[in-house]
């Protein structure tokens, strides 16, 4: 290395260090922000929701939504990356293109999608990788969501594998790239493209046009989106327009830079000592959220209180949701609904009791999966610079009067 180059490198490294120091060094994990007001505005096909942004639209569900095992379409969270979203799509003219390393490239209309293939349904949780990000201190990159960037719906569509089968994969096909119709304000801004390796795609992956028995709401990706049960929502491409098969991984910003966690056993790092290697966030970890009662609400002493909420994971299956009323010293099982919706859906839980003591009462919920994995206390959640994959034990504090 030439001396001049050395200084150049040193200067760049100096800048990188400065960048990481933007985080400070003291890690503290708190409960995700839970007191944001809902907006006065109705977005298309939505009730008023917590509105972090109008362009691109970022809408969050409120806590009370999580008393239900199926999230209503008009209360389902919304997250777009780019400011330009088509405001009209003609369902008669809309097509999806399947191309790349295939025997026969084709485009398919919405009508043919509904007629030419076996129609399948899957109930699955859609959760932003940054859901609950506001728990992380120092503040990480990204939208500071509370715990409402998640929902569970019954999706209907066709299997991705059936679509690929019609095209016929050529030898050497390894990666499938997906992109939708949202576009950036600037030509040079990287597009929102996602890539999945063939190994990641099973028959549960579908291209869906229906959500809870209705057309997909516009803001949830009308007319068609990708459904990847068990995976964070970054790869559930909305307004899906193009599917390209390749042999080599194509580098894209939203694959290489965003939606990644440290590539180590605990997927964590320190703000003043960032991990060098990172990996995609991919599968969801175990989590539960209390839907009722609300934080800071008032409950009458000796009245029957039914705590309700939802729990889910990547598809291993929830075995138990435990409730603690003494700060996590002792735990009792709640009652879970049946598993009828399948392993990718919410399990709704309920726990009934009568508060016997006046004053503040902390209610905690902790999900446990069939392998025995369970949620950590919030204070034990480890930090990462993107604020991804938060799954701390949810705490609601009520006042017993």
């Amino acid at each position: 290395m030439k001396r001049r180059d050395f200084f150049k490198t040193a200067a760049v490294m100096g800048a990188a260090t400065l960048g990481s120091s933007a985080f400070g060094s003291e890690v503290k994990i708190q409960q995700p922000i839970d007191n944001r007001p809902i907006s006065k505005f109705n977005f298309p096909e939505k009730r008023p929701m917590i509105t972090h942004s109008d362009r691109p639209p970022l809408l969050e569900s409120t806590r009370d939504v999580f008393t239900q095992a199926i999230t209503p379409n008009d209360e389902f969270f919304v997250r777009w990356h780019m400011p330009e979203i088509p405001t009209y799509t003609d369902p008669e003219k809309f097509t999806i293109s399947v191309n790349g390393l295939v025997q026969k490239e084709y485009v398919i209309s919405l009508k043919d999608l509904k007629n030419d293939f076996e129609q399948v349904e899957v109930t699955a949780v859609l959760q932003c990788g940054g859901n609950s990000r506001s728990a992380f201190l120092p503040t990480t990159g990204g939208v500071l969501w509370g715990s409402g960037a998640m929902g569970c719906a019954k999706w209907k569509g066709v299997r991705l594998s059936d679509l690929l089968h019609r095209a016929g994969l050529k030898e050497g096909a390894q990666w499938i790239g997906f992109n939708g119709m949202e576009t950036a304000a600037y030509y040079k801004t990287p597009g929102f493209v996602r890539e999945l390796h063939l190994d990641e795609l099973d028959d549960h992956v579908i291209v869906a046009y229906q959500m809870n028995g209705e057309d997909l709401p516009y803001l949830n990706g009308y007319p068609v989106r990708l459904i990847l049960p068990g995976y964070y929502s970054d790869s559930w491409v909305k307004m899906l327009k193009n599917i390209t098969v390749t042999s080599e991984y194509q580098h894209h910003f939203f694959m290489d830079e965003a939606y990644r966690v440290p590539d180590n056993a605990t997927e964590s790092e320190m703000p003043d000592h960032l991990a060098k290697k990172t990996k995609p966030i991919t599968k969801m970890n175990i989590k539960s959220v209390i839907g009722f009662p609300e934080d800071n609400s008032t409950i009458a002493m000796n009245s029957q209180l039914v705590v309700r909420g939802v729990a889910f994971d990547s598809g291993i299956g929830i075995k138990d949701v435990l409730i603690s009323l003494d700060g996590g010293k002792t735990w009792e099982s709640s009652i879970l609904d049946n598993e009828a919706r399948g392993r990718y859906a919410y399990r709704a839980f309920r726990f009934s009791f009568k508060p016997k003591t006046l004053g503040k009462l902390e209610i905690m919920a902790k999900a446990v999966d069939k392998f025995g994995h369970e949620q950590p206390f919030a204070k034990n959640v480890l930090w990462n610079r993107g604020g991804y994959k938060y799954n701390g034990i949810d705490v609601v504090t009520v006042e017993v009067v």
Binding site: F41, P57, L58, P83, T139, Q210
Partner: protein, 100 residues
């Protein structure tokens, strides 16, 4: 006759279609603070995202805001001049800073 018209109308209306015309996403007037540098914030930031993106982050250190601006330039290729980047940083540190 009425019946025929009604049937025709029903036939023309797709069963579930909710997006029959241009969707209008409401404009939300986020309560952004006015002050020195606002014009540069307005001109550079609003192209890609609303002021909600700024307010959502809460009060943050100057270094945090500086890193954000450079993420917009480096990762998202926002054409923000060095001069404007400094003005936007000063604005954010002044009005949405936490004193650090």
């Amino acid at each position: 006759m009425t019946k025929i018209i009604l049937i025709t109308l029903l036939a023309l209306t797709p069963l579930f279609a909710q997006v029959k015309e241009n969707i209008e996403v409401p404009y939300v007037a986020y309560p952004i603070k006015m002050g020195k540098g606002f014009d540069q914030v307005n001109g550079n930031c609003l192209m890609c995202h609303s002021f909600g993106y700024i307010l959502n982050q809460g009060p943050q250190p100057r270094a945090f805001w500086k890193a954000k601006i450079h993420k917009m330039i480096d990762a998202f290729k926002a054409p923000i001049s060095d001069e404007d980047a400094k003005i936007v940083e000063d604005y954010l540190a002044t009005y949405y800073g936490n004193g650090k």
